[in-house]
Symmetry: C2
Subunit: 380 residues, 2 copies
């Protein structure tokens, strides 16, 4: 098996038959939850962790230190261990792209801290018990290949892991880097006057779920009067951005002097903005004024809200992203240069989505009620 072109494969779409699987094989049936949507809710976790007032920290995403990776001083002078883990369930049907997404999503927590070199990855794999041997072999091979290709692209290697049998197909990884202190971005230095930059549009959960409605043929498409062609296009757009590494975005944090950064995943844009605001040294308000949204996803959300639904709480910034973009606070001038350089490297846009304001008391993050919704078309 050779390395596959990521975008070409996404555009072509996944054909189970061409991959040796039955016509009606659907990977995402192997779980009841999708991607980062499977996280235990933040408030529940915090409550469970209350017992530990001191040094125990579960997933730094999910506690108020607001870092995406843990950073551990080592016995060796000047060196830090930076480490993160993530695991979840399939949310797309192509195991290869799912491997890519899983790897990109794990690495993203290092990238959010400006750490662009990963020393080692571990792969975590739960093989769904209901798979027959043929299915298992095909799926696991494709998944591993996707994970490996993404790791290659990130200039890192997979040298360990664990594989168990599990009721659901479970996918994940661990990323570790040993770096000099200077390689880590200080994420607590946002100041009033900074702008907020976002490097991927939101709406990934809407794209993945509406695509599921088509596959399940559950009446939702008709009920909401949706355009399946547009959903399929949006789904591919979501696949592309989920499988795109945030590595260039990470490297440029240093060059363009980011004051603060995180990546947007399971808690949604506002959830992660809140986490990040809380760790700032100076009290600030992160004010989000614009929402870049994957094309057509805002229409779906509008229809859902018209019908009395919550629309995945997308406009509230609470819709989960998997392997979402970086959210960065930096000076406006730096932001413009950052966006220009990143767009040219990744062949994908990025946007100024808000501002950092002065605040008295505790820092907060907020989306303005009339936030502009900008529909983002894919670049392919």
């Amino acid at each position: 098996m050779t390395t596959m072109n990521r975008v070409e494969r996404i555009v072509e779409g996944f054909d189970p038959v061409k991959n040796g699987l039955d016509d009606d094989f659907v990977l995402t049936k192997l779980t009841a939850m999708k991607g980062c949507g499977c996280k235990v809710p933040r408030d529940v976790l915090l409550q469970l962790l209350q017992t530990f007032k001191t040094d125990l920290v579960i997933n730094n995403d999910e506690v108020d230190i607001g870092l995406d990776s843990c950073v551990i001083p080592l016995r060796h002078p000047g060196l830090r261990l930076v480490q993160t883990t993530d695991f979840f369930y399939p949310l797309v049907d192509d195991p290869y792209i799912m491997g890519r997404i899983t790897c990109a999503n794990v690495l993203s927590d290092l990238y959010a801290m400006g750490v662009s070199e990963c020393d080692n990855m571990l792969m975590l794999l739960g093989v769904a018990v209901e798979l027959n041997e043929l299915q298992r072999d095909i799926i696991v091979r494709l998944f591993i290949q996707g994970f490996k290709d993404a790791a290659d692209e990130a200039n890192t290697k997979i040298r360990g892991g664990q594989t168990v049998r599990c009721p659901w197909l479970l996918l994940g990884g661990v990323a570790t880097s040993v770096v000099h202190e200077s390689e880590i971005i200080k994420v607590d230095r946002a100041i009033p006057g900074d702008v907020l930059v976002l490097t991927k549009p939101i709406g990934g959960q809407v794209a993945v779920n509406s695509y599921e409605w088509i596959k399940k043929n559950n009446g939702k498409i008709e009920e909401l009067g949706l355009d399946t062609a547009k959903i399929k296009k949006a789904f591919k757009q979501a696949c592309e951005q989920m499988s795109r590494l945030n590595r260039n975005a990470a490297k440029l944090l240093h060059k363009h002097e980011a004051h603060s950064s995180t990546d947007v995943t399971g808690f949604g844009l506002l959830g992660h903005a809140e986490n990040l605001s809380r760790v700032q040294k100076q009290p600030v308000e992160f004010l989000i004024e614009e929402l870049p949204i994957i094309e057509y996803m805002n229409e779906i959300v509008d229809r859902m809200i018209e019908k009395g639904g919550e629309g995945f709480r997308l406009y509230e910034g609470r819709s989960a992203e998997t392997s979402g973009g970086l959210l960065i606070a930096m000076s406006e001038e730096n932001a413009k240069n950052y966006i220009a350089e990143l767009s040219s490297l990744d062949n994908a846009p990025a946007w100024i989505v808000g501002r950092v304001l002065e605040k008295t008391g505790e820092s907060i993050a907020r989306i303005v009620p009339n936030a502009a919704r900008r529909s983002i078309t894919s670049s392919f």
Copy 2:
């Protein structure tokens, strides 16, 4: 919640009611597989990994490089990143002890390589979807406490992790250490004349499963004519040794000049002996002549075999252990000193179980057909 005494708690046994759970609450019902028994079979994994001839290695236990942790040269001179991960399902009903076992089992892969200092741990947790909130809170808190207490005992900290919802309760962790090259035991230097040392008896899978038969009341106890009191005692013995850190065993590898070492887990005593034999520089035969077995477990296996069963393939060395002991090749004199010192530190025995012989051609490991079965009584 304060640190609990491990052995006292095991001896007392787990009372769901005292812990706020219903009388009939059974943690191990939350999975169809137990502990390290859940691993994807070795041959299947190797086959799945065939595609990758170069640098991709999944779980070093399970591929032929025979190391328990991956060892990665870093950009920083003389330093190595040593890392391992493991996750599995509950195999005992006390979530606290399960947390201890999970942590001990993960750390064991570092210890098997003589690395006794762990710089960081990540905790991996899948919260079973069928738990109600009360159950979830109680179980997760106890599990975390047990994991943390074991980490404290190991002089390390938990500073990251991931928690997802899952059909089964899923437990695991990642252990990472950045060490000088000299802190790692070279595991490939076994020579003819060495003896083989084992630091915990085998039979853990038999103990855990026979205890399940009692709980399930499935007729197995009567069918085989077993003594439930003896099974309950053996189960506690298994809990004690599974939750006992292999850390002292690791530290003494250096002092007593071990030539080779691994830990015994999912592939059983012989499986891990085989893995270890394959990486030896000099062709050798690891000959196992004695099987230290948790008290009464040999009787269960005998009855099963009488009835035409496989008896967990215990005597063949294929019965899975969770957080089993270290298997070490070293000179006979060093072995005696090693055993004496370890026994006094851990208050538990260790044994010479075999010898390293000359071999022409490929290295192998083997259990002699008439291997002595030694019944090991618990120390408490």
